[in-house]
Structures are given as C-alpha cells and as structure tokens.
C-alpha cells in the first residue's frame, strides 16, 4: 500500500503543479490529521475483529462538551472534559459488547445515534461558540510557521500506539483476540477486558480528533464529524488491515488516511466537480484494496 501511495504522489505531481508545492502537501497533512487520529482508535477495534460506528458522534459530542469548558474553565478543563466523553462512550460500547453480548455493529450503531442525538439536544442545532482564539494554535497553528501542529499530534499518537501495540502485552493481546477470541480466552487472555479497552481507546482518539476540529473552527456544531466513521474505517482497510481482525499494523493507517486525503486533494486541484469527488473516492478505495489483495493472493 505504501507503493500505491508513492505512485499516487508521483502521478499527482505530474498531473498538477499546484499539488507539488510544499504548502499544499503540508495542507494535506493538516486536513487529514483529524481522520488519521480517528483511524488510530478505529484500528485498535478493527484489529480485535470489531468495528466502532460511533466515532463520528463521539467526536461531535466531545466538541460540544469541551467548548463551554474551554470558554469558562480554560484549556485543561476542555481537553480533559472532551477526552472523558470519549472514554465514557468507549466504555459503554465495550460493556454492551462484552457484558450484554450485543454484536458490535448493533451496539455502536445505537451509541452512534444516541451520541448524535445528545449533540442535537444540547446544541438545539445552533453552534456553540466561545472557544478562546488563542487555542486555535492547536487546530490551525504551525510549528516554525511550517509544520502543522495537528499533524504533529497525529504522528506522535501513531508512534505511541505503534509501540503500545507491538511492545506491550495489551497490544499483543489485541492481535490475539482478533486472531481467535476463543483460543486467546483459553490461553488466559482476559478477552473482555481487551475488548473494553480497545473500544475505550477508540473513543479516546475519536474525542481527541473532535477536540482538534473544535479548536480549528473555534466552535462546536451539531453536524460536526458526520459520517467520519466511514472515512476512519476506510483508512484502516486501505492501510491493509484485515476486517476480521488479527492482521495489520497501526502505522499503515497513516498510509490509508493519506491515500484517502490525497485523492480528495488532487480531485479538487484538478477541478473535478464536488458531485463527482465522493463517487471517485469510493471507486479508488475499492481499486486500491483490490490491487493489494489481488497481487498478494496468487493461487497455488
């Protein structure tokens, strides 16, 4: 998939001179950091063989809760308040799946709707304003005027998660649960705990991306992060994760997120109608994954 990404970068550079400018490239990073961070948490859940549909709503809810806290109690209050929302939604998802034995699809579909519903109830459809403008540096700021801060947060999170998954028991147990939940359980892995924690991580990163969006636009809107869950799932899959879990690396979600972002960017630069962009993105997701699986699956 990295090869597909490189190929796309080269092709885009030839097609559009505007694409090549460092400014545009950094802009792609900045724009996609929100999806990218969300995909990190989604990756943890997908590696266990589940999906979390509630991330978009969680991100919006985190923004809605964080905004007044930012406004009235300062940066730390907003940050912790928002992240707590993510952890709580994740905990609820995890408990529904493990204790109440709901399928992950049903459980997270439900919390997705409830989360979005609460956002509408709180905002009554009107954006909540008042995030202090100086916090904008997190959402839009650039280190030394060049490197987007949001992208730096994204990459820092990727590095941390890479090490957590590869070098901790928790990380290896996530893979084991995705490989075979039953076998992992009988080997002494507390599979329910692993599932709950993976959903909480997913909620955490969803909230973090919601907060970054919040600090970028300095307000919380009711329709924020609508259908972002699909982009996050697509990033993981395009990055090469197995939908059944057990296979894939967290770092590859960067590749996935960037491929997704790049497609959109080049379509915009080439002046493709925005009506076409969505359809083309879908076709390219299928194409990219098809090339990958087709080339790796030779028949014996």
């Amino acid at each position: 998939m990295v090869l597909v990404l490189i190929g796309m970068v080269i092709l885009s550079s030839i097609l559009s001179p505007a694409f090549r400018s460092p400014r545009n490239l950094l802009n792609i990073l900045n724009q996609n950091s929100i999806y990218g961070i969300m995909a990190l948490g989604m990756g943890c859940v997908i590696l266990t063989g589940a999906i979390d549909l509630s991330v978009g709503s969680t991100a919006a809810l985190a923004g809605v809760i964080a905004t007044p806290l930012f406004r009235d109690y300062g940066f730390a209050a907003g940050l912790f308040g928002g992240l707590a929302v993510g952890l709580i939604v994740g905990l609820v998802n995890g408990l529904l799946v493990t204790k109440f034995r709901l399928s992950y699809f049903v459980a997270t579909l439900g919390t997705m709707q409830i989360g979005r519903g609460i956002v509408y109830i709180i905002t009554t459809g009107i954006p909540i304003q008042g995030v202090p403008a100086e916090y904008n540096v997190i959402g839009m700021g650039k280190l030394w005027g060049v490197v987007p801060i949001a992208a730096l947060i994204w990459f820092a999170c990727v590095i941390v998660m890479h090490f957590v998954l590869k070098y901790t028991q928790f990380g290896q147990h996530i893979y084991a649960v995705g490989g075979s939940e039953n076998a992992a359980w009988l080997s002494g892995v507390n599979t329910n705990k692993i599932r709950v924690l993976s959903f909480m991580l997913c909620g955490f990163f969803a909230a973090l991306s919601g907060i970054i969006l919040n600090l970028r636009v300095l307000m919380a809107t009711a329709d924020a992060c609508q259908s972002y869950e699909m982009t996050a799932i697509a990033s993981c899959i395009v990055g090469g994760m197995s939908m059944d879990g057990g296979r894939g690396t967290i770092a590859s979600s960067i590749t996935g997120a960037l491929i997704m972002g790049l497609i959109l960017n080049i379509l915009q630069l080439l002046g493709v109608s925005s009506y076409w962009q969505t359809a083309v993105t879908g076709a390219i997701i299928i194409g990219a994954v098809a090339i990958d699986t087709f080339s790796s699956k030779k028949r014996d």
């Binding site: 090490f163 590869k166 070098y167 901790t168 028991q169 290896q172 147990h173 893979y175 084991a176 995705g178 490989g179 075979s180 039953n182 076998a183 992992a184 359980w185 009988l186 080997s187 002494g188 892995v189 507390n190 197995s242 059944d244 057990g246 296979r247 028949r299 014996d300």
Partner: protein, 501 residues
C-alpha cells in the same frame, strides 16, 4: 468390471516456494474399491487430495478420470466431473435443511411458470434417497440440529445424489463415536456396492484394516508403497509410515510419585450440563488419565477445572488452599494450563505467527516496566520450538500453514512456556501423526517426571493405559470407576468395558 481404473494420478509433483511437498506420486483408484491413503502428518495426503480436488491448480503430472485427462480448475469443477470431497470440517450450511444441502447448487426448479425452487420435489427426492441409503434422517431437519455423524451422512447422501464416481473421505471418523464409526463403515460398503470408489484417509490403522481393499502409504511427499490390505500388518504399515519401528506399546509410568496433593476436587458439578459430583485428587508428578466415550463429560470437566465452564457446586483446592476459578485467566495465573480439544477453534490463534502463538501467555514474564523485551521472549520461543521439535521454516511462519501435528506442538509449547504446575491435556494427539504422537508421549512422561501434575483426557485407550498412573472412567457425567494403573493389571478390554459397560 472390478478392475477398471476410475482415477489415475500420474507423477504428481507439487512445490511451495521451491519446497517439494509431493514428489512423483502415483495413485490409482479402481471401480468399487476403498483405497486407504495413510501417512504421517505432513506426508502429503491432504496436498494430494487438494490437487485432485482443484484447490491447487499449479502442479506437475497428470490426472485422468475414467480414461479422460482432466485438470480441475476449482472444487466446483471437480464436483461437476464426479469427485466428491468429505472433509474433516464438514462443508454444510448449518442453517438450511437437509434437502436444501443435498441439492445445494443444483436446486430443482419448477417446470412451469416462474422458475422458482420446487421445494416439495427436492424434499421428496431427498427423503427417498435418504431412505434408500438407510439413513435415519428427515429431509426437513435443519443440518445444524443433526449430530456430526448424521451431518457426515448428509454429505455422503449428497455425493450419491451428484452421482460422484469418486468419494474422498478425509478423516471421517475423527468426531464420531465407536458406534457411529461402525455405521459409517456399513455405509461405505453400500457405496462400494453402488460401484463408487472411495479414497479413505485416516490416522487409525484399525479402521483402515476394517474398511479398505488397498492401501497407499505416503512418507515425506513420496509414495512408499501401494499394497493389498490383506497383505499388510500394523507393524508393516507403521514401519512404512515412519521409516523405523515405533515403540508403540511402551508403558511410561513413574515409580515414585510424590505424596503431595496438588489439585483436589470435591463434589464438582456443572451448571448447565451433565457433569455431576466429581471428586478426585492429583499428586505432584502424577499423570491422571480420564477415560470416557464422546459425550461422557470429560471435556466439560476439564473446562470446569479451568474456569471455562460454569460450576454449580463443589470445591476445588490447589496446593491445599480453596480456590474459586471462574475464568481461564485466573487458572493461568494459578499456574494451570489447558491444551483444548478443538485445536482449530480453541487452540490456534489464527493469522498469527508461531512466535506469537507460543509467547502469548509468556510475554508477562518478559516485560520491563510494562514493555515487552522481545530479545528474551524470542529466545524463549526458539527454546520451545527446539524443545517441542516443531518442524517449520522459521518462527514467523503463520500457524495455520503448519501440519496438524506441528500446530499441536505449538499449542503445547504455549502452555509449557510458562512452566505450569498443573497441565490439562484434552486429546493431545488428536489428528497427530504417529511420529509426533510418540514425541508427545515421551514429553508427557518427562514432564511428570519433572514434577508436573497432568490430567490426560483421551479417546485412545493405549494412550491412557501407557501414560497414566491412575485412571478415572466417566460415563454420563459421573465417575463410574477408578483404577490404579500400577496395581490393577488393566487392559484395553477392561477399560473399554468400564467406559461403555
């Protein structure tokens, strides 16, 4: 008629990544015969059948069916041309009824009007077929509600209805009871009378003697011999399979067992099941055999001890202290380990490497400040691969690509890597070849000698008799007999009588 060759596989060679797993194998099948295909795990039996079935399309050599050269592109293609496969894992749709499964892919449509399914005719035809074959199965039953033995019969009925000329049975008896096996044999004889040819793959030599006309032995991807069954003996077959005489009936008991009681169960009963009022003790360095037919509650007992099956009543004491184990994780924390019965479903962590599979529990012993120290963990993996004699390319090979025996060694390696005090083995040699079996026996004896307490559950009476110091016999969830293998002069007959008596 009897000597017409139906199928001829000529000089089949198949290699993966340059490694030859089949080399110049010839195999022929006559009409109306049962031809057994035997060999140790990894000898190439399954590969040969996958070549025949069109799962593998790139191979050298040629196949002819009824005198006509064929090259199947996929299993469906093979089925169309008359090859029926009955796998260990039964490929049936559990949520559909028997008739629909028999006619799957060849559904009968209504002649007139809209071409929708003619359920009534399928149902009737299927029932007629089942009755004709003498199977006591209703065509309208959901396949998922049938016993594994009856599910197998459904597959056999399907093969008859597709008019397959060759039926391949890959370890058909692995999940069957003795009675069901006998019933299957009479079905096989019926197939012969219908003029069908059967390729019969099995690890059980006594079955091969009972059912087959000829035997082909494979070893390390080559054909050793094709012989008439009447000319073979167990010793000969084993010699052909492993290339040397195996010590088949060697008793491996310990002379001085510690008096220290490690695990003690009192009045253990299962919450939702048949296991009732089980009491026993196991000493340090002792092998406790648990015998019983399929469904006697032995596997459930193992799982209850391990916290994987809910317990209604009873006490469990570990090293003299009462313990309450409700999850496998707790059992593992108390230095217990379980090698489960269903290797594929419960043992293997699919999609992961050998190294991951071995070290999943052991990681906890190789962490520094919460981070895994891979150099130490991997050193232990190599130790276990050597110790268990796992045959593999390297530690990063995916577990599912290993042969059954090697998969089992990896699962056992996982349990042993943490040096448990109590080891529960549920059918440790199921689907394992003779060579690996002997290694596992040797290992069990050695572990007990080193002071491990081992609970050994097995279908194979020799296994129980040769390895256990004491033996419990279970029937319908209860312990019905207890034997001391050192003093009771047990033999297979006596044990079997206690099991089924």
């Amino acid at each position: 008629m009897k000597n017409t060759t139906v199928l001829n596989m000529d000089h089949i060679t198949k290699a993966f990544h340059g490694v030859k797993v089949l080399e110049n194998v010839d195999f022929d099948l006559r009409q109306g015969e049962v031809h057994a295909l035997i060999g140790a795990n990894g000898a190439g039996k399954s590969t040969l059948m996958k070549v025949l079935n069109g799962i593998y399309v790139n191979y050298e050599g040629s196949i002819s069916l009824n005198g006509e050269k064929v090259a199947f592109q996929n299993p469906w293609d093979a089925q169309q041309k008359g090859i029926a496969m009955i796998h260990q894992e039964l490929d049936l749709v559990m949520t559909m009824d028997v008739a629909s499964n028999i006619y799957l892919g060849r559904e009968v449509l209504k002649k007139r009007g809209v071409k929708c399914l003619n359920r009534k005719s399928m149902q009737e035809e299927a029932q007629k077929l089942l009755d004709r074959l003498g199977f006591e199965i209703q065509a309208g039953t959901l396949v998922g509600e049938l016993s594994p033995a009856n599910q197998q019969l459904v597959l056999i009925a399907r093969s008859v209805s597709t008019d397959a000329s060759v039926v391949v049975m890959d370890e058909p008896t692995s999940s069957l009871s003795h009675q069901e096996t006998m019933a299957l044999f009479s079905v096989i004889r019926q197939l012969k009378e219908l003029g069908k040819s059967v390729i019969y793959i099995s690890h059980y030599l006594d079955e091969v003697f009972t059912v087959s006309d000829r035997i082909t032995v494979l070893r390390d991807g080559r054909k050793v011999i094709t012989a008439n069954t009447a000319d073979c003996t167990t010793d000969l077959l084993v010699e052909w399979m492993i290339g040397k005489r195996a010590e088949f009936d060697k008793k491996r008991l310990r002379s001085n067992i510690d008096s220290e009681i490690v695990l003690e169960a009192t009045g253990l009963s299962q919450k939702y099941g048949i296991v009732d009022d089980i009491s026993f003790q196991i000493h340090r360095g002792e092998v406790l055999g648990v015998a019983g037919v399929v469904g006697s509650g032995r596997t459930e007992l193992a799982k209850m001890l391990f916290g994987a099956e809910p317990v209604k009543a009873g006490q469990l004491q570990l090293n003299g202290k009462p313990v309450n184990i409700r999850r496998p994780a707790q059992a593992v924390a108390m230095d217990m380990a379980l090698v489960p019965e269903e290797r594929k479903k419960e043992g293997l962590i699919a999609k992961r490497s050998i190294a991951d599979n071995i070290s999943i529990i052991d990681y906890k012993n190789h962490t520094k400040f919460g981070w895994i120290c891979y150099s130490r963990a991997i050193a232990r993996v190599h130790e276990m691969i050597d110790y268990m004699h796992v045959v593999c390319r390297n530690k990063d090979q995916e577990i599912t690509s290993l042969s059954g025996g090697n998969q089992q060694k990896v699962v056992m390696g996982r349990c042993l890597s943490v040096r448990p005090k109590v080891l529960i083995l549920d059918q440790p040699t199921r689907g394992v070849d003779v060579g690996a079996k002997n290694e596992i026996y040797e290992l069990i004896a050695q572990l007990a000698e080193d002071g491990m307490s081992i609970i050994l559950i097995s279908d194979e009476l020799e296994e129980i008799l040769n390895l256990s110091d004491r033996i419990l016999v279970m029937r319908r969830g209860k312990i019905v007999s207890r034997f001391d293998n050192h003093t009771d002069h047990l033999d297979k007959n006596k044990l079997l009588t206690a099991m089924v008596g």
